[in-house]
C-alpha cells in the first residue's frame, strides 16, 4: 500500500517538476533533453501502471489521501477505478507521444519549449484526473487549457497557429466559467471542495430529505457546459478543427488522451457523484440525461458528415474525434444508474479504444505529412507503394474506426449502441446507426484518397519515403492494441468493478450486429467506388452546388454564426468606443447641468437686484441665452468633471448608507 501511496503522488508531481528541468538539461545537450523527456514518460507510465493492481484486486471503493495546502484547500489524490483508468491512459499515451516526437519533431526550432510543455501537459492532465477536490481539479483544468494553448500555437511565427491557439483558449474558457459557477454552487451548498465531502453532503441531505435538487440540477447543467467546451461538443466544437494547426504529435496527444478527454472524465466523475442519491438521479432524469444523450447523438452525426467533405487529412481525424466523443456523450447520457449502468462503462471503454485508433490515425497522418509536406488529401494518392507499412496500419485504423468485428471499436461502439437502444428513443438509435455508416464512408474515402489510385502530380515531383522507425514503432504498438483491445472487455469490466450482462460472444449474436453490418456494406461500397473507381455519379453530387454540399462545406454554418457573433460584438465595442465619450461624459453632463444651474442662479440674482418687472423678462431671456451659448462654447474641462464625479460619488455613498441604516 505504501508503494501505491507514493506512486499516486509521484505520478503527477514528477512530470510537473521534471518539466522545469528540461531547460536546464537543454543547456547541456539537446539529445540529453529529448531522452530525459522520454525517460520521465517511461517512469510516469510505470508509476501509473503500479496503481492498477491495487484497484484491480481492491474493492472498487474510492480512497483518497490529502494534505492541507492553504486554508480551505487541500491537495490530494483520489484513487478509484475511474481515476486510475484515466491516469494509466494518459501516462501510456504520453510515453507513446514522447517516443514519436523524437522522430517527428527532429530538427524543429524551440524543442526545449516543446518538451517542457509536453511534460507539463501530461503532468497537468494526470493531476486533473487524480485530484480529490474541485479546486485542485480546476487548477489543472486551467493548466491543461493553457498548455494546449501554448502547444497549439507552438509554431508561433505562423499567425494562423497563434490565432488557432487563441481561439481554443477563449472558446474553452467559456466552459471554464460554467465549471467555476458549478464549483461555486457546490461549495455554497456543502461548504467543501473535496469529492468525499460532497458525496457525504449529498447522502446526508438526501437521507434527511433536505437536498435542494433544483440547485444541483443547475450545477449539473453547468458541469455539462464545462464538458461541452472542453470536449468539443455541440455547439462549441469548432475549435477542435482550428486546433489542427498544432504539430501532429500534439494533436495526437490532445485527441487521444488529454484535452478533449477531460470533459468526458468530468461528466463520468459527476455522474458517479450524483448517483449516490436516488432522489437526485430522479431529478436529473427528465431533462439532464436526455440533453446529454441528444448533444452526443447530434454531435456524432454532424461531426461524421463534416468529416465526409473536408480535404484536410488532419481535418478528417479531427471531425472523427468530435463524432466519436459524441458517441461517448450519448453513452454517458444513458447512465442513469451511475457506474452500474451499461452506458457509463460503454463510453469509458469506447474512450480507450478511441484513444488507440485515433492516436494511430494521427501518428500515421503525421508520418504522411512529414513525408510529403502537405495536409491536402487531393494532392495525395497512390501512397500504397511508397509507404507500405503505413498503408497496412492505416487499414487497421479504418477498420477499427468503422467498428468492424472483431476489432476494438466493434465492442465498444456496440456497447454504446446497446445502451442507447435500452434507454433512448427511436430517432437517437437511427441517428447513431446512420453515423456508424457515415463513419465507414469517410474512413474509406480518406483511405482511398490517400493510398489508392494513381500518384498525383504533386507526389511525382518529390521523393516519398516511409516514416522512420521511431515513428512507426509507436504506431505499431497502437495498431496491435486496436486489434486485441476488444477482447480485453471482460478484464476492463472487472477492473472497473462493473458486471456486464452480455458476454463477449453475445456481441456477435446480438440483433444489432446484422443491422450494423448490412448498413456498412453499401455505404462502404459507395465511398469506395466514388473515390477509387472514379465513379462520377456520386462525385458530381458531392462536387455540385446543392444545399447539402453548401451546408457541409460551411461546417453547418457554426463558425459563420460565431463569426457573426464576434463581428457583432466587435461592432458593439466599436460603438462603445464611439460612445466612450458618452460614458465618460456622464460626469461632464452632470457638471454642465450644475454649471447651467449656476448660470441661471446668477441670472436670477441679477434680476433680484434689479427689481424691475419688464427688465426682469428681458434680462431673463437675454442672460439665459448668453448663458446657454457660453456653455456650448465652453470646451470640456476634465478636471471639473472629475470633481463632479467625486461629488456624485459622495452623494451616492451618503444615499446608500442612509438606505442601509434607515435613518
Amino acid at each position: 500500500m505504501i508503494l501505491e501511496d507514493v506512486s499516486s503522488w509521484l505520478v503527477w508531481i514528477l512530470p510537473l517538476i521534471a518539466s522545469l528541468f528540461v531547460p536546464l538539461i537543454a543547456k547541456y545537450s539537446a539529445k540529453a533533453r529529448n531522452y530525459f523527456a522520454v525517460a520521465i514518460s517511461v517512469i510516469t507510465a510505470g508509476l501509473a501502471l503500479s496503481l492498477v493492481p491495487g484497484v484491480f484486486f481492491g474493492s472498487g471503493e474510492a480512497t483518497s489521501t490529502s494534505v492541507a495546502w492553504i486554508t480551505g484547500i487541500s491537495a490530494g489524490v483520489f484513487i478509484d477505478p475511474l481515476s486510475v483508468l484515466f491516469t494509466t491512459l494518459v501516462a501510456f499515451f504520453g510515453l507513446i507521444i514522447a517516443i514519436y516526437s523524437l522522430g517527428y519533431m527532429k530538427g524543429e526550432e524551440g524543442l526545449t519549449r516543446y518538451y517542457f510543455l509536453l511534460l507539463l501537459f501530461i503532468g497537468s492532465m494526470i493531476g486533473l484526473v487524480i485530484s480529490d477536490n474541485l479546486i485542485q481539479m480546476f487548477i489543472f483544468w486551467e493548466m491543461v487549457g493553457l498548455c494546449s494553448y501554448a502547444l497549439i500555437s507552438f509554431w508561433y511565427k505562423r499567425p494562423e497557429s497563434v490565432r488557432a491557439g487563441t481561439k481554443v483558449f477563449i472558446m474553452t474558457r467559456i466552459g471554464d466559467i460554467a465549471l467555476l459557477a458549478a464549483i461555486g454552487i457546490l461549495f455554497t451548498m456543502f461548504g467543501t471542495f473535496s469529492f468525499h465531502g460532497i458525496i457525504n453532503g449529498i447522502q446526508t441531505a438526501a437521507t434527511a430529505g433536505t437536498l435542494d435538487t433544483g440547485l444541483l440540477v443547475i450545477a449539473a447543467f453547468l458541469v455539462l457546459g464545462g464538458a461541452i467546451a472542453k470536449s468539443a461538443q455541440l455547439p462549441l466544437f469548432t475549435w477542435l478543427y482550428s486546433a489542427m494547426e498544432a504539430p501532429t504529435s500534439v494533436s495526437a496527444l490532445l485527441h487521444a488522451a488529454t484535452m478533449v478527454k477531460a470533459g468526458i472524465y468530468l461528466l463520468a466523475r459527476f455522474i458517479l457523484i450524483f448517483s449516490v442519491a436516488p432522489v437526485l438521479i430522479a431529478a436529473l432524469q427528465p431533462l439532464w440525461f436526455p440533453v446529454v444523450t441528444w448533444i452526443g447523438v447530434l454531435t456524432a452525426i454532424i461531426g461524421a458528415t463534416l468529416a465526409l467533405t473536408t480535404t484536410d487529412i488532419k481535418g478528417v481525424l479531427a471531425y472523427s474525434t468530435i463524432s466519436q466523443i459524441g458517441f461517448m456523450m450519448a453513452g454517458l447520457g444513458t447512465a442513469v444508474e451511475g457506474a452500474a449502468s451499461i452506458g457509463w462503462f460503454a463510453s469509458l471503454f469506447h474512450m480507450i479504444s478511441h484513444a488507440f485508433f485515433e492516436g494511430l490515425g494521427f501518428l500515421l497522418a503525421g508520418g504522411i505529412i512529414h513525408a510529403i509536406g502537405t495536409r491536402d488529401m487531393r494532392l495525395m494518392g497512390g501512397l500504397k507503394k511508397t509507404m507500405p507499412i503505413s498503408f497496412i496500419l492505416m487499414a487497421i485504423m479504418i477498420i477499427t474506426t468503422s467498428g468492424l468485428p472483431p476489432f476494438a471499436a466493434f465492442f465498444s461502439k456496440g456497447l454504446i449502441i446497446t445502451s442507447v437502444t435500452d434507454a433512448g428513443n427511436l430517432i437517437q438509435i437511427i441517428l447513431l446507426y446512420a453515423t456508424t455508416a457515415i463513419t465507414f464512408a469517410y474512413s474509406v474515402r480518406m483511405f482511398s484518397l490517400v493510398f489508392m489510385g494513381k500518384e498525383s502530380e504533386h507526389l511525382k515531383k518529390q521523393h516519398v519515403h516511409e516514416a522512420p522507425k521511431v515513428m512507426l514503432i509507436p504506431a505499431m504498438i497502437l495498431a496491435g492494441l486496436c486489434i486485441v483491445w476488444g477482447l480485453a472487455e471482460p478484464l476492463v469490466a472487472s477492473f472497473m468493478h462493473v458486471s456486464l450482462e452480455t458476454s463477449l460472444l453475445g456481441a456477435f449474436t446480438n440483433l444489432e450486429t446484422p443491422i450494423f453490418l448490412s448498413l456498412l456494406i453499401p455505404t462502404g461500397l459507395i465511398a469506395y467506388y466514388s473515390y477509387y473507381k472514379n465513379y462520377q455519379g456520386v462525385r458530381n453530387i458531392a462536387a455540385g452546388k446543392n444545399p447539402l454540399t453548401t451546408i457541409l462545406s460551411h461546417g453547418y454554418f457554426f463558425d459563420d454564426v460565431y463569426g457573426g457573433i464576434a463581428r457583432g460584438i466587435s461592432n458593439v465595442s466599436d460603438g462603445v468606443r464611439r460612445f466612450e465619450g458618452m460614458i465618460s461624459l456622464f460626469p461632464q453632463k452632470f457638471a454642465s447641468t450644475i454649471i447651467h444651474l449656476a448660470n441661471e442662479v446668477h441670472v436670477y440674482l441679477d434680476v433680484y437686484a434689479d427689481k424691475s418687472l419688464d427688465k426682469l423678462i428681458n434680462v431673463l431671456a437675454n442672460k439665459t441665452l448668453t448663458g446657454v451659448s457660453k456653455m456650448k462654447k465652453a470646451p470640456s474641462t476634465s478636471l471639473r468633471n472629475y470633481i463632479a464625479a467625486a461629488v456624485l460619488g459622495f452623494i451616492l455613498i451618503a444615499i446608500l448608507i442612509i438606505l442601509t441604516i434607515g435613518v
Binding site: V601, H602, L605, D606, Y608, A609, D610
Partner: protein, 154 residues
C-alpha cells in the same frame, strides 16, 4: 448675537471670494474670510488657533496675491455692483441655516483640560516632528519643479 453676525460675515466673504471677477477683490474677500474665522476662534477661547489662522492666512494671501499678479489673467469684465449685491444677498441667505438649524449630539466626548502648549509639544509631539517630513518632501519636490529655471526653461 455676535456669533450670528460673524457667521453671516464669514459666508458672505466666502461667496464673494469665489465669485468676484477681479483677482484683487477676490483675494481681499478671502482675507475677510480668514479674519472672520480667526475672530470666531478668539471668541471660543482658541487664541493660538486664531494666531495661526491669521499667520497662515497672511502668508497664503501674499502668495495668492503675488501669483495672481504674476499669472496676469486680467479679467475680461468687471463685476457689476448689481451682481456684487446679489452675491452678498446670496451669502446672507446661505448663512441662515447655520443660525436657525442645529444638529443634535456632540455631547459624548469627555473633556480633557490640557493646555495648548502641552497638547502640541507633549501629547502630539510626534506629529510635530512629522511636519518636518512633509515639509522636507515638499522642499525636495519643489527643488525638482523649479530645477529647470536655472537652465532657463526647456
Amino acid at each position: 448675537m455676535i456669533f450670528e453676525i460673524l457667521a453671516v460675515g464669514l459666508i458672505i466673504s466666502a461667496v464673494l471670494a469665489l465669485f468676484l471677477d477681479e483677482v484683487i477683490y477676490s483675494v481681499a474677500a478671502l482675507a475677510g474670510t480668514f479674519f472672520f474665522t480667526a475672530l470666531i476662534y478668539v471668541l471660543n477661547g482658541a487664541i493660538f488657533a486664531a494666531i495661526f489662522q491669521f499667520a497662515v492666512g497672511v502668508g497664503t494671501l501674499a502668495i495668492l496675491f503675488l501669483s495672481g499678479e504674476m499669472l496676469g489673467d486680467k479679467p475680461t469684465k468687471k463685476t457689476s455692483p448689481k451682481r456684487t449685491g446679489a452675491l452678498i444677498g446670496a451669502g446672507a441667505v446661505l448663512s441662515l441655516p447655520a443660525i436657525f438649524l442645529s444638529v443634535s449630539g456632540a455631547t459624548g466626548a469627555a473633556a480633557s483640560n490640557i493646555s495648548f502648549g502641552d497638547a502640541l509639544w507633549n501629547v502630539r509631539g510626534l506629529d510635530v516632528i512629522l511636519q518636518a517630513l512633509v515639509i522636507l518632501t515638499v522642499a525636495l519636490g519643489i527643488a525638482i519643479v523649479l530645477y529647470e529655471k536655472k537652465k532657463g526653461g526647456k
